[in-house]
Symmetry: C2
Subunit: 193 residues, 2 copies
Amino acid sequence: MSSTRRIGAEDSESRAALLDAAERLILTDGYAAVTSRKVAAEAGLKPQLVHYYFRTMDELFVELFRRRAEDGLVRQAQVLESPRPLRALWEFSNQPTGSAFAMEFAALANHRKDIRAEIGRFAEALRAQQLEIMTEVFERYAVDVTSYPAVTLLVLMTSVSRLLVMEERLGMSTGHAETRALVERLIDQFEPS
Amino acid sequence: MSSTRRIGAEDSESRAALLDAAERLILTDGYAAVTSRKVAAEAGLKPQLVHYYFRTMDELFVELFRRRAEDGLVRQAQVLESPRPLRALWEFSNQPTGSAFAMEFAALANHRKDIRAEIGRFAEALRAQQLEIMTEVFERYAVDVTSYPAVTLLVLMTSVSRLLVMEERLGMSTGHAETRALVERLIDQFEPS
DNA sequence: GTCTATACTTCGATAGAC
DNA sequence: GTCTATCGAAGTATAGAC
């Protein structure tokens, strides 16, 4: 089954350059543009090197995702420790690169089973971390959690920021300003600016 | 510039079969699986036929999108004429195939400029149609549109249904039931079930 | 440990046969 | 009007040279 082919060291410069190149490509041109040849060209290296450092393209994708995911967990933890966690989370969710990255991987996962599991697991971990902090925050703000559970706010904020980013990439704008304003007003109730 | 190659008739059976096959493929395996060879195999035809009926693969994608888009506009118009338009729109937005289709094309548009324009234009038309009806409905229900403009409800409902479908495909579920319940309660305020 | 020569597969597209 | 033979480019992956 598993090939005996040798694989390059994890701390190699070329390996890091390939991952960086793949990350740029997936953000600008989408995951379908992440081919061994294009990644190598973007990194200024030979195409065969991709398969020296990564057994398969799926392996490269998983590595790419893990790198970002771990970084995301750390940065989100910092964000949620801020004095205005609701506002901080909203601003964090609205970063275009984060949303774009999440969407590309969701689309990718759709037809690569090995990657799907990896992504689903991480996304749940991310939400669990958010939920832990948000539950505490809701308690502090004395929110009626029977009517408005903390987790619903998370889903709502993620939903809205994700859709707005996606639509803006398509050149859409109808209702965006109004919806952003609504969310800001909602946050203002708990965390006046 | 433009090739002199001949193109098959628009009402050809083979052409329709190819479009149907492409639609099945994009829904099950994602847009990256929509290649000339796979489409032909799925339709039980020779791969070269794809390029007889469609100059390029992009042209096939645009045709595929238009066909669904026009159908979507018609069906949405019917939905919004129902006695409970809010509820009807929510149920309409929650159909998994519609969301899946929208997501695949959003991802596709990300790295095919010709397709992006086509999709953006249609999506705005869809929202404009929703907005027209929703504005009327909000007036009927005497909603305070200064605080809650009709368009924000549209964006919110679309956001949530889209994210839930996407996450479910990744095997996620945290917060889904709670969020659905919240939306249902909100709709119940205006349209008791 | 690092990289290259090379094989094999699939892709989009065209010109020309029926 | 409908379909097929065929090409050149691009894709993944491996075995072997440095």
